[in-house]
Amino acid sequence: MYNRKDKAIAFLMILPSLILLAIFVYYFIGQTAWYSVSDWGTDPGTALKKGVEKNYVGLDNYHTLMSSASDYEFRVAFTNTLFFTIFFLGACLTLGFFLAFLLDQRVKGEGVFRTIFLFPMSLSFVVTGTIWNWLLKPRGGLNVLPRKLFGADPLEYKWINSDSILFKFEWMQGGDLFYLAIALFAFALFTYTAQKRHLSWMWVAVAGVVLWLISSAGFWNNIWLPIDKPNLDIGTYNGYGYHAALSGIIIAATWQMAGYVMALFLAGIRGISEELREAARVDGCTELQVYLYIILPQLRPIALSAIIILGHISLKIFDLVYAMAGIDNTDVTVPGILMIKGFRSNEWARSSAVAMVMLFAISLVVIPYLWTNLRTEKQ
């Protein structure tokens, strides 16, 4: 079957796809990377001219994003994404696991329930945003539900338009935390691979010291990432932290994605043999212990998949925020929105830098995942 002619045909058949992806993914990413270190569009007058000269400016654009007063909005967007990811992941995983747990109790009409919990997945984020904007508006919607049910006073929650900021911090300190997080992440990754490959703990210790040195260099001298103390923030400055108005968007996103986690966990739970559970019960485990000690540990790979999939969705979330908060909201915004804003106003270099930051954040999550996933598949 594997004669040379047919093998050549096989390769020729997949070649166009490979070339297209090479151009549309990798070449284009390369171009964006180049724009992000150029001055294209910094002068709005020449931004649209064909063949305009682009000059290399190094990491200036990133530096501006991280520290200039006028780019306060980007730093807000950046922290918003991090908070959004944490709360959205937490809510989805908890609710999703709870739903899977409940559906696993030999429920009547399981199919109907599953359909109900999963249907939001088939909707567009734009549709979800439209609907939840209505439900979460300050006057009416969910806020008046208690009156309808018990005749109580309507609630006053500002789900989508609160202006309070929780977990406030200063950007400088946030920058430090950022360095620390990256260093810790790299260290965890290294420890993990060291363990897998049975490297000695000496190496782990050495890596720890090196990373500590690098990150502390980052704290003091801003050597390896262009973050330094922002100029006096002016204008729209409200402070950095968790903008409470994100809550409504998190609720909407959880409503849409929790069913997905449920489906993943349910498939996982069903894959665990009934004998194993029965054996645990015979040994005197209560039902709760069966779930805690038998089922949960076996679901770890699935939980990891769920975290990666949801994490990469939330790091690049854009449409839902666009539909719920609009494009001009400076508090409730994410990098994806800023990129489009810059795109529309021909600030090519700056929006390329924003896009590259997004790509970098997502690569941190996705590349290790793809790596381990494809390796285990091979074995």
Binding site: D6, S122, L123
Partner: protein
């Protein structure tokens, strides 16, 4: 012992009846089942609240839809006016969406099927390198390629219309469709293909006579997946086409972001935009879930 050290212990002791109740509910099969059903019904109600609200609001008159006091009540009289208005506004966009989705889904399913066949059944040199590189393409934030893409589309005169959007969706759909088909074809026994080869079939003969006829389930999963993804897509739709050719998600997002007092029209618009994918999901839910699970790499 002072009261401070006793306090936590008494607190824990106080929860004993509660813990006992929880343990009893979890231990007793019929009680557990009743509790599970009750909780599921509550949660299902929470998931369905938006559906109820969307439908009743869309069926109200503009003035009634704006009134908070009766927001949760059924419409005083059924009124399909908002659907009429929204239909008049949005039917060109719906047509665009249908054209886009049909063309892009069909092409990307065929491309994915061919790629999956090659990757699953033919040992192509370098596959272990380019397959992961291919998969990475489905995780990237599309903002990272948007500016060069826009320039490229402009240069080849594909900016602004549907053909360009079809091309974009086909290209960026290659990773997921290839992945689903590859995982599907891996399960077809090699003996079957070798039998075909002995009968004299070559690369295409094996595909058309043996693999393709077995592919129906794979096609169903991929078509449903691409249909919903492309129908729901927003970023390319809002940046790469001009007004006249915009798919349904773009005008809908604009009404949602605006400060609209009358909510009956956005709600009717949301129903129109959601209906096609929702119907697909309700009719073919099983296949939809397979696509979802395939998206997490392991088939």
């Amino acid at each position: 012992m002072n009261s401070l050290t006793i306090f936590p212990r008494t607190l824990i002791q106080m929860t004993k009846p509660l813990r006992a109740t929880v343990a009893r509910i979890l231990g007793n099969k019929s009680l557990r089942s009743v509790a599970a059903h009750a909780l599921l019904i509550l949660l299902a109600a929470f998931f369905l609240i938006p559906v109820y609200m969307v439908i009743i609001t869309a069926l109200k008159e503009a003035s009634e839809a704006g009134r908070e006091v009766t927001a949760w009540d059924l419409p005083s009289k059924l009124n399909f006016e908002s659907f009429e208005i929204v239909w008049n506004d949005l039917s060109p966009n719906l047509r665009n969406s249908f054209l886009l989705v049909t063309a892009a889904t069909a092409i990307s399913a065929l491309v994915g099927s061919m790629n999956g066949y090659v990757l699953a059944k033919w040992r192509v040199p370098g596959a272990s390198v380019f397959f992961p590189l291919m998969l990475f393409g489905m995780f990237i934030p599309y903002q990272a390629i948007l500016i060069p893409l826009f320039k490229f589309m402009d240069n080849v005169n594909l900016y602004g219309g549907l053909p360009g959007l079809v091309l974009v969706h086909v290209v960026y759909g290659i990773p997921i469709t290839t992945l689903i088909f590859r995982n599907f074809y891996v399960d077809i026994p090699n003996e079957l293909l070798e039998a075909g080869a002995i009968d004299g079939a070559g690369f295409f003969g094996i595909y058309t006579k043996i693999v393709f006829p077995l592919s129906l389930p794979g096609f169903v999963v991929v078509v449903i997946w691409q249909f919903t993804q492309i129908w729901n897509e927003f970023l390319f739709a809002v940046t790469l086409v001009k007004d006249k050719w915009q798919p349904i998600t773009v005008p809908l997002a604009d009404t949602a972001g605006g400060i609209s007092v009358d909510w009956n029209e956005p709600m009717a618009g949301a129903i129109l935009a959601a209906l096609p994918t929702l119907l697909v999901y309700i009719i073919m839910g099983r296949w939809f879930i397979r696509g979802l699970l395939a998206g997490s790499i392991k088939g």
